[in-house]
């Protein structure tokens, strides 16, 4: 049984390690083989980019060698896939190889596409790549005051980032002693401040305390950099001195080029995670079109369920359990307060008021993450 995992991010790595432990005997006897293909020899802790952008984490802390995170029984190659052929059970890689498999898991993630809104990439800051996070920090470091506008594209990775950016930036400027020279204007695509209603209700009170103004039903259409105005699809405008963007995201180009899904999102069964029309092909994490949060925890919980299922299929011919839609998201509510939202397909979230202890747990998780990636936590 040749199992191919494409993508060495959080989902692919947790899946590979979990599966390798469950199939220890099969891997040893040669009955099963796990191969991972990734675009990089480095593994990035993506949530750390927020802290890099605020000058609270060094870039070095974001990375570990991917090979060091994987069980030794996993064959790891830096050789990204350039074409998927699910009907022939084959992929073609950048190095020119054709690789056959019996089962495949696609975990290639997604990417911010600020370039799809005219004027956005060159006139805003965001936190979605190492370069962008460093540029973010350089920009806010030299900002001396004015109107900060937060603008949010759809869909985006990490649904908690719009409030987190607002609250942490507020505290950043407060600590720099210039908060009286800075005003905040928060925009959001739907008719409230956050997709989760309890989070939106909490944000309303926090915004009132800080004097943060807001506009809902605001979907970016274009940015006029010369006049420092962001315009919405709904026909309104917001003037800015500093434009903080949460750009819209798309799946990876290779997914779209292989015609696996519009926008690069792979259609899968929301419980079994198999790609529509295939029993031996799966997708997890940001790669899927499941209408739930694009977040590391989603990839983590999907990877655990899928590892159990693939191991069970190999051992006894049937899967073990459904993925239940579980998501867990920390919400940084400033520099030293945080809360969290946890929910699944059947149970809505009920976030509690932020506390210092949850913030410090999040700080600890920034280190514990590496145990998660190894499939230990």
């Amino acid at each position: 049984m040749k199992i191919l995992i494409v993508g060495g991010g959080m989902g692919g790595t947790i899946l590979a390690n979990n599966l390798a432990r469950r199939l220890k005997g099969e891997l040893k006897s040669g009955k099963a083989r796990i191969t991972m293909l990734s675009a990089s020899d480095q593994h990035m802790y993506q949530p750390g980019l927020l802290y890099v952008a605020l000058g609270r984490m060094a870039v070095d802390e974001l990375y570990k060698d991917q090979a060091s995170l994987l069980e030794p029984s996993i064959e790891f190659h830096v050789d990204p896939v350039e074409e998927f052929n699910l009907d022939n059970k084959q992929v073609k890689t950048k190095s020119g190889k054709t690789i056959d498999y019996d089962m495949i898991v696609i975990a290639t993630g997604c990417r911010a596409v600020p370039e799809e809104i005219p004027g956005l990439a060159e006139n805003s800051i965001n936190v979605y790549t190492e370069e962008d996070a460093l540029n973010f920090y350089r920009t806010i470091s030299s900002f001396e005051g004015g109107r900060v506008v937060i603008a949010v594209g759809v869909p985006h990775k990490c649904p908690m980032i719009p409030p987190e950016l607002t609250f942490t930036l507020y505290d950043y400027f407060k600590d720099r002693g210039i908060i009286d020279k800075v005003s905040f204007h928060y925009t959001y695509p739907i008719g409230r401040l956050h997709s989760l209603e309890p989070v939106s209700n909490w944000m309303q009170g926090e915004f009132a305390k800080r004097g943060v103004t807001s506009e809902t039903l605001f979907n970016m259409k274009e940015v006029d950099g010369a006049n420092k105005i962001v315009k919405s699809e709904e026909g309104t405008e917001a003037a800015y001195d500093l434009l903080v963007a949460v750009p819209a995201h798309k799946g990876m180009e290779v997914v779209e080029d292989s015609k696996l899904g519009a926008g690069g999102w792979v259609p899968v069964d929301r419980n079994r995670l198999n790609i529509d029309g295939y029993d031996n092909a799966f997708a997890i994490g940001d790669t899927t079109n499941i209408p739930i949060s694009k977040a590391g925890s989603t990839a983590h919980f999907e990877a655990e369920a899928l590892a159990e299922n693939i191991a069970s299929i190999i051992k006894i011919g049937i899967p073990a359990r459904d993925y239940d839609g579980k998501v867990f998201c920390f919400i940084e509510a400033g520099k030293d307060q945080a809360t969290y939202a946890m929910f699944n397909y059947n149970n809505p979230p009920d976030p509690k008021p932020p506390t210092k202890s949850v913030h410090w747990f999040k700080m600890a998780y920034n280190q514990l993450y590496w145990a998660s990636a190894r499939g230990l936590l």
């Binding site: 759809v154 869909p155 695509p189 008719g191 989760l196 709904e234 209408p291 059947n346």
Partner: protein, 76 residues
């Protein structure tokens, strides 16, 4: 004949049915339609509010046993 894309957002809380519609409508051609299934009670109000404000068209909206079926035509 307009093509119709289905977004089954039943039982999902974040990003939620309206956000899924906003994302999904970017992926279809002008004149094509999206049908959103939502178990969020607010969808009967908040989806038409956005669709009307941005200038698309509500083709039909129906509550079937607690699930909203909202069909939207992309107008621009």
């Amino acid at each position: 004949m307009a093509e119709r894309k289905l977004i089954d957002a039943r039982g999902t809380y974040c990003p939620g049915p309206l956000m899924e519609l906003i994302a999904g409508i970017k992926l279809i051609e002008v004149g094509d339609e999206v049908e959103v299934l939502s178990s969020d009670k607010g969808s009967g109000h908040d989806i038409p509010e956005w669709v009307n404000k941005v200038g698309h068209e509500i083709v039909s909206i129906e509550d079937v046993d607690g699930v909203w079926h909202v069909v939207v035509k992309k107008a621009k």
